[in-house]
Subunit: 548 residues, 2 copies
């Protein structure tokens, strides 16, 4: 029986650990099996992800297939549903069938990184903010921005136009800066070909809680430089401001103001992977505590590294920062220590202190702060940025493809084509603040709404006057009449306070109503009551006065 | 007021009509507006779509952004919800807001093509067969095949492995041949890097209703040649056989046999666009009847061309075939005739007879049959194929990008990376044939099932023996217990006859049950009754004997 080393996670930490382990165990393949589990079949080169949104790299340029990087590792492309450190097993979710897969281990390496998780954020962000963490996010973001610009180009209503052409990014850390720079470049490039949109109509806004960008990662001088570069290109920066919530048409700030927009991107500090949360291991700020050899405290069979681990460090932050630079070095050291633990050798402590920081500002500008205090910025820093990351791309094949993409991008920029795949999930969660209109009389009715929390009012409007005909609360639904009988909304619905609302697609609603007798009865009953009440409130007309 | 010419559809017919109209009306831009409406913001170069699946072209290589092709056309990227030829208006669906858009026209050009529509097909294809028509289909197909191979690589159950590694394509016409060739190449390339899968485990099957491939499009000699090439590369061809249905785990043939598979692709003859169906115009086999100048019969303000039009022709088929070759020529002629009708000139009749046929067989082989009977095949035909289509790519930029992709593919093949975007739609429709197991006792429970038609039996199994404990019919649901209380299925459910079943995702089910009291009551009531009945049928154990 081979001993099995199971690595969970296919980011920098996981993939590089596997690569180093492959080398260390080269002559012992008959005795040790290396296994890596990841939900995607590829490794994402995170630092280049923003370029996928901007379009200077193609969708797949920033990723490499795992099996091509790890020739002697067994790769499982599945979701992990359970980690059992007592039984020493990992349960993998079903894929294309109903059975799950049980994987036992002798040595476990936790390299699960962290996740963008809006669940613990205040209301609205979970429902309406887009994340920017993985390739699917980048893909979605690019397609959405192109879709929005196309829609705006032919939108006659100036208020909706303005809302469509406003883009808000929350968080001015590294990833917030990189993504706002790429979005700004992309949008401004997109409108060049479209006469219908004036340059002045576009607003790209970065909201940052401190008075300087990247206050944690960059020196004051470079932080100020980054802000200036972005502002020169048309990005508005709101300092000392926090993005606290979002609705389908607004970004809401802690200053009491809100911005009309259809696109809110939040680079909130990522949270722990839910799989880590449940593990009975010692944690420091949601990260798994290890000793300086990356062995998990009180365990001899578990190691942790990368963004999910709290590894003691002599840097001012006490623990190693969650960057690719550190993850790769951690992987090398952890792989050695795992090998050492299986060969009765003594482990090495992890002592890397970092080389410095590099940030891309889009459009051939960057800023860098190297170990020892050397600072560079502008075009030279950008060339340096590209060169450094290009060197770090795994495999020569990937290097060539990225190099050609960059070269092509200078001669023939990638076309702004929007790939429409079906993104709609079952039931949508929406969040509205007080006074927002959920729909207007006359709108097209595509959803049934169910109130999860809060109150809304139903308004009958005629001759420019509005009259409240009903107030609906938690558990009530509205919008069903436009789905059942009519195509258009017969009344306006507006929130009376902050509301959480579920939206059920018309087609799904129709299926459910046909299948479930009880549901249909409930709807019909409520319908009758509403008609009665509405009749009392306003007469005539009779058939235009319900909450749908 | 400018006169408005509105073109519906952005395929070969629509885009080329707009291009020719731009030229003809170059000096009259102040008097005429050209408008094109399409649901995507790009034009797909259909003949190269199969290569996107295979990977010799990148995802976006086969498409061009509409605004870059049509500089003087107003482009509306929206779904069309209504065509009103009495009022002379087009209604466009809402996007990012709830209001639709009304567009009036003076001249209407119908170039809506056709759609892959399984709704009129026998049960099962609509639910489980994948189409192959547009870029999203190609994208989905490629990602799914990669996902399947990754899953198969670590599947321990040999029956599921076999099912996963079997791919069935229905229809041996042009697109069926092209797609089966690319899928076969892709799958065989994918397994090369994976030691866990033996070459012999892969089956790629083409099902064709006649005794010769492409019996309509190619001569007997070339049809036979195409079949031989495919068979040499490992494709199994079932002649005189029809794909009539599909389930989540089977392709069902008209011969009474079925094939265990998770991937069924159907290239069924496309049907009319639903927008065309409703129009009060004369139709011939679902296509809009025109005269030989492409003006719609009995209308002076509507023109139709491309796949949605029945244009009289002197070819043996009486009407122009639905190919790109014809669409482009039709566009030129139609554009001239529209211009002529607005300038009191006489229109021209469309007389093009076609140059011949070209088909790619994957992996550097093709077959061609030119006007006058010249036939070429093999590598030379493939070079010819690429050259001809490359020449026809719009714009020099696209030509260069495709050329570089092809070049790169020879040196560094594209990596088999699977882009996971969220594909799940609200409620899934499933189809099972008699005797199929919907889930087994012990499976992971992720869905609630509702029977739309047919009957299923619930089986309690212990010690290898199965005992029927309930029969469920139309309107009944099952699987709720694994969702409400337990993680795993407590019984096996099998179909007693052909069944249509709806599957509601666990997360959606939980939302609905929380929100709708009546629904919850209905579930609880049924639950109690089932427990009682199950108790009668089998005792003990009491708590493992329900239909979930």
């Amino acid at each position: 029986m081979k001993k099995r080393i199971v690595i969970l996670g296919g980011g920098f930490a996981g993939v590089y650990t596997a690569r180093y382990l492959e080398k260390l165990f080269k002559k012992e393949r008959d005795r040790y099996e290396i296994v890596l589990v990841n939900r995607e079949n590829y490794f994402t080169f995170q630092p280049m992800l923003a370029e996928v949104v901007g379009g200077s790299l193609g969708t797949l340029d920033s990723v490499s297939a795992l099996y091509s990087l790890l020739k002697n590792t067994s790769i499982y492309v599945r979701e992990i549903s359970e980690i059992d450190i007592k039984q020493k097993t990992i349960t993998l979710s079903p894929n294309f069938n109903h059975t799950d897969l049980l994987l036992s281990y002798d040595i476990l390496v936790l390299a699960l990184g962290n996740v963008t998780d809006f669940r613990h954020s205040p209301g609205g962000l979970h429902e309406h903010a887009l994340g920017f963490k993985n390739l699917a996010d980048a893909f979605k973001l690019r397609n959405r921005i192109i879709d929005i610009v196309e829609t705006a180009a032919n939108e006659p209503d100036p208020i909706i136009r303005k809302q469509l052409l406003t883009f808000v990014v929350g968080g001015g850390g590294f990833s917030g800066i990189e993504i706002v720079a790429e979005i700004n470049d992309l949008v401004r490039r997109l409108i060049k070909g479209r006469k219908q949109i004036a340059k002045e109509e576009v607003r790209v806004i970065l909201v940052h809680s401190k008075e300087r960008l990247a206050h944690k990662e960059l020196s004051p001088a470079l932080g100020t430089y980054a802000a200036k570069i972005l502002q020169n290109r048309g990005v508005e920066i709101l300092f000392n401001t926090q993005l606290i919530s979002a609705t389908p048409s607004e970004a809401i700030l802690n200053t009491g103001f809100s911005i009309k927009t259809s696109t809110v991107i939040s680079t909130v500090p990522p949270s722990a992977n839910p799989l880590i949360e449940g593990l009975p291991l010692i944690k420091i700020k949601d990260r798994i505590a290890t000793d300086d050899t990356m062995q998990v405290l009180n365990r001899t069979d578990i190691w942790a590294l990368g963004d999910c681990a709290a590894i003691p460090s002599k840097t001012p932050m006490q623990y190693c920062p969650a960057t690719a630079q550190f993850a790769v070095r951690e992987a090398k050291c952890a792989a050695y220590n795992i090998w050492a633990s299986l060969h009765q050798k003594s482990p090495k402590a992890f002592t890397f202190k970092g080389y410095g920081m590099l940030i891309s500002l889009g459009h051939r500008k960057a800023a860098a702060e190297l170990f020892g205090g050397i600072k560079i910025s502008g075009f030279i820093a950008w060339v340096f940025w590209r060169f450094i990351y290009w060197l770090k791309l795994p495999k020569i094949h990937r290097k060539i493809r990225v190099w050609i993409s960059w070269l092509l991008d200078m001669i023939i920029p990638q076309e702004s084509v929007q790939l429409k795949t079906e993104f709609h999930t079952g039931i949508a969660h929406l969040f509205y603040t007080k006074g927002e209109t959920i729909f207007h009389k006359g709108d097209v009715g595509n959803f049934l709404y169910i109130i999860k929390s809060g109150k809304v009012e139903v308004l009958e409007s005629s001759d420019g006057k509005e009259k409240q005909i009903a107030v609906l609360k938690e558990g009530d639904f509205f919008g069903e009449m436009a789905l059942l009988n009519e195509k258009r909304r017969l009344a306006t619905v507006r929130s009376l306070e902050d509301c959480e609302v579920l939206a059920l697609r018309k087609s799904d609603f129709q299926i459910l109503i046909t299948q479930f007798g009880a549901l249909k009865e409930q709807f019909e009953k409520v319908e009758k009551e509403r008609l009665k009440e509405a009749q009392k409130a306003i007469l005539p007309p009779l058939d235009e006065n319900t909450g749908s």
